[in-house]
């Protein structure tokens, strides 16, 4: 047998080693980003989730002003954590529309009463259909939608205090 053939297994092993070592050094993040960024918000028309906020449809976003679309639920613990920061965004002038996932009106009302209500409109998405339409894979998530109704940015997970300026900046960019 020629000697180069005998080195072939070692070469294959080096390739394998390089691959997994690089995979180990840059641990994969488990988040699945939406592929809808840069695309128009798909059409939807959700019923109202609570009595004191109007219902939400895709048309509500194409009004010339950039807005936030926040995916949340009363059963979601990180949503409680992000509530004050959402309020901070609302206080800074951001318009936040909520999409409540798989939730009962009374639960949402109780959640909002306890944690504050930064939302302008809230749609009830009991089948996660809007969530699936915009490529969101979890709760909470926040999308920036520009005035033409095009999704420009996705924030996965709860909003921390440090994320607030970034989201405001993204809203600014979406002008």
């Amino acid at each position: 047998m020629t000697s180069w053939k005998l080195w072939l297994p070692f070469a294959l092993f080096l390739a394998f080693f390089g691959l997994v070592a690089s995979g180990l050094l840059s641990p994969s993040d488990q988040t699945i980003e939406s592929k809808m960024i840069g695309k128009p918000l798909p059409a939807f028309d959700l019923p109202p989730a609570v009595t004191d906020r109007p219902a939400l449809s895709a048309a509500d976003f194409a009004t010339g002003e950039p807005k936030l679309l926040n995916i949340f639920a009363s059963w979601c613990v990180p949503c409680i954590a992000e509530a004050p920061h959402l309020q901070a965004l609302a206080d800074a002038g951001a318009t936040i529309n909520g999409v409540a996932i798989r939730d009962k009106p009374e639960d949402i009302a109780a959640f909002l009463a306890r944690n504050g209500n930064p939302y302008t409109k809230i749609g009830a998405d009991n089948l996660s259909s809007v969530q699936l339409e915009i490529g969101s894979s979890g709760v909470p998530e926040t999308f920036v939608v520009d005035g033409k109704g095009v999704i420009t940015y996705q924030h996965i997970g709860d909003i921390r205090a440090s994320d607030v300026p970034l989201l405001l900046e993204k809203l600014e960019e979406a002008q």
């Binding site: 005998l6 297994p9 070692f10 092993f13 080693f17 691959l19 180990l24 994969s28």
Partner: protein, 649 residues
């Protein structure tokens, strides 16, 4: 003091394995011949010490000693005895200790029992075994100490994942580890033989029982794991090509190939470099599997606390052992004579094809498992699943079934085509008849299940042909083993194909009193009752299963369980096994309208998958017994290195 004693045993065992390596290294280098006699006793003592450490850890778990971190993290005083015991290895540290314990005991066994090998090869083998052990000792002692104490004892343990509290799963991991470690012994033999340039039939016969043993345990481990997933997860799936499942399949594929090439080497003195290569590959696959499972590098977030540091440690060990042995292979293999060439039409010819096809399947599984990692490194996430593995694997698996049917019938060295055609006429006919029957009565089924069904029937018949014309009582056990193992493959294949082709699913929301039909059964939901177990409470559905049109009926009771410590909900499927299939019932949630969700399946011949697995294991066991008995006899009558004709592959 139990924990400290355990740690002391572990350190001592580690020190002994270092001594074993150094003594072996020096005596091979010709600088310490006087060291050679200590190697065997050191290997035996090392095995005993590490076993003592493991027994002490079991003791800690049985006592639920909450001052030990590992116990506090993984056990609970209210856990049933069996799971306190099995909980010892239901975690990363404990399972690694189990791993080195099996490795140490294997080393002791080689040192005690192996008398055939040339002494320098023997020393090199034990040194290689010590070299591998040292890495795992270092891993345990420096990064995963199982005996670590807590600053102050925990008030109560955190408990064991309820899904793991199952008799099947309690013994599934150790079974796989024994298989993995058996392959590490084969690896040590291969390295020893390469170092001392002693690759031949004697080496093959010394290695064969380890390969066979490892292979039996891997077979049983995979079979048990698959059955566990099938009944415990509540969806009736038995294989999903998940990275963790693949991690256990790859060593099995490599071991299967190795098993067959070892036969060729033992019998014909050929396939020397190939066998060495396979021994290295088989152990690599155990290491790769362990690495994939523990590092969390692929998104199959395993129950073991995934930790990049541990991942790096295993990867470093992998680089040293596998990289090192492959370099050794590249340097030394050219000096190994590959042996005579074969006729296409001979037992060894078929075995070569079997080896190449198995290796190709292994390649497909490895590439498919790692590919998402490659694309992610380039910025794209993809998933590779059944739509890839099934058809692509079949490209190689289908011809392999044909080789499997023909191989055992062929004679060594060369055979006539006419004889083969005559012998295979019956299986071919059976295949054709089955094909006709399935096409007429089977309805529309996919091409892969169809091929699986008909080839399984043909293979089942072909696999018993080697018994034709023999006196069954005087047939060597190794022949029986081969026949039964091959039959097992056919049986398992039949179960898989039948489940894919004819599975019936009924999902219903049911009121109490409603009846539902699935497969041959009519099911009536009688009641939903609360029941309680040692560390869980459950809702239990009481369902009458009646064979439609007859009076025979039975009660089945699927449960929806809520475990305490840790809190978790699981569904316990109810299974009703008949010769021709299994009824599988799961109780789901209660709907708002008071109806209960039931998931019901009739899965024709599905238990054949695991019967097949057991048959394969049994075949391996018979072959192991037969081989060992013959080796002992051979050793007694003639010690000469012979190229004797073996009876079977």
């Amino acid at each position: 003091m139990i924990a400290e004693a355990g740690l002391a045993c572990l350190w001592l065992a580690a020190a002994l394995s270092l001594l074993q390596l150094l003594a072996g290294g020096f005596s091979l280098a010709g600088k310490g011949a006087q060291l050679a006699p200590v190697i065997r006793p050191v290997a035996i003592l090392q095995g005993l010490l590490v076993t003592a450490a493991f027994v002490l850890l079991i003791w800690l778990f049985l006592r639920t000693d909450l001052s030990v971190k590992l116990v506090a993290m993984n056990s609970h005083s209210a856990k049933p005895f069996l799971y306190k015991f099995a909980g010892t290895w239901g975690n990363h540290e404990g399972s690694m200790l189990l791993w080195v314990t099996i490795m140490g005991l294997s080393g002791s066994c080689i040192a005690l029992l192996e008398k055939r090998l040339r002494s320098d090869t023997m020393i090199a083998t034990l040194a290689a075994q010590a070299f591998v052990s040292i890495g795992f000792y270092a891993f345990l002692l420096f990064s995963s100490n199982p005996f670590e104490r807590l600053p102050s004892p925990a008030p109560e343990g955190q408990g064991l994942n309820p899904l793991l509290q199952d008799p099947g799963l309690a013994f599934h991991p150790p079974t796989l580890y024994i298989g993995y470690v058996g392959l590490s012994v084969a690896f040590s033999f291969a390295v020893g033989a390469l170092i001392t340039r002693n690759v031949g039939p004697v080496f093959a016969r010394a290695m064969r029982p380890w390969v066979l043993g490892a292979w039996i345990f891997l077979t049983l481990g995979i079979t048990a794991g698959s059955y566990w997933a099938y009944y415990e997860l509540g969806w009736g799936g038995w294989w999903f090509w998940d990275p963790v499942e693949n991690a256990s399949l790859m060593p099995w594929l490599a071991a299967t190939a190795l098993l067959h090439s070892v036969s060729v080497l033992a019998t014909r003195g050929a396939l020397r470099t190939w066998t060495i290569m396979l021994a290295v590959v088989a152990f690599s696959m155990s290491m790769v599997g362990t690495f994939l499972v523990r590092s969390g590098i692929l998104t199959s977030v395993h129950a073991f606390a995934v930790d990049p540091e541990r991942g790096s440690f295993i990867l470093a060990l992998l680089a040293i052992y596998i990289g090192g042995s492959l370099v050794l292979f590249a340097v030394r293999a050219s000096t190994v004579r590959e042996g005579t060439k074969f006729n296409y039409f001979s037992r060894e010819g078929a075995l070569v094809m079997n080896n190449v096809l198995l290796t190709a399947i292994l390649g497909i599984v490895l590439i498919g498992t790692l590919y998402p990692l490659l694309t992610e490194a380039m910025g794209t996430k993809v998933s590779v699943g059944p739509p890839y593995f099934n058809p692509v694997g079949a490209i190689f698996a289908l011809p392999m079934l044909l080789v499997m049917a023909a191989g055992p019938i062929l004679r060594w060295r060369g055979d006539s085509g006419r004889r083969l055609v005559n012998l295979l006429a019956l299986p071919a006919l059976a295949t054709a008849v089955t094909l006709l029957l399935v096409i007429i009565f089977g309805g529309s089924i996919g091409i892969l299940p169809l091929l699986g069904l008909v080839l399984a029937v043909g293979l089942a018949i072909a696999s018993v042909i080697p018994l034709f014309g023999r006196n069954l009582l005087r047939t060597p056990l190794s022949i029986w083993g081969m026949v039964i193992a091959h039959l097992g493959i056919a049986v398992a294949l039949f179960g898989m194909a039948s489940e894919s082709a004819f599975n019936q699913e009924v999902l219903v929301a049911s009121n109490v009193g409603d009846t539902h039909e699935v497969g041959p059964y009519t099911l009536t939901l009688n009641a939903i009752d609360p029941v309680a177990g040692p560390n869980w409470t459950a809702l239990e559905a009481n369902i009458t299963a009646q064979v439609t049109g007859s009076n025979a009926s039975e009660i089945i009771t699927p449960q929806s369980r809520n475990f305490t410590s840790p809190t978790m909900q699981t569904s316990e499927a109810a299974l009703l096994t008949r010769w021709n299939g299994q009824l599988y019932a799961v109780l789901g949630e209660e709907n708002d309208d008071g109806r209960w969700q039931l998931r019901l399946w009739w899965k024709p011949f599905v238990p054949f998958i695991w019967y097949g697995g057991l048959l394969i294991g049994l075949g391996g066991l018979l072959a192991l017994i037969g081989r060992t008995a013959r080796d002992i006899k051979r050793r007694r009558y003639d010690m000469q290195d012979s190229d004797m004709q073996g009876e079977a592959a």
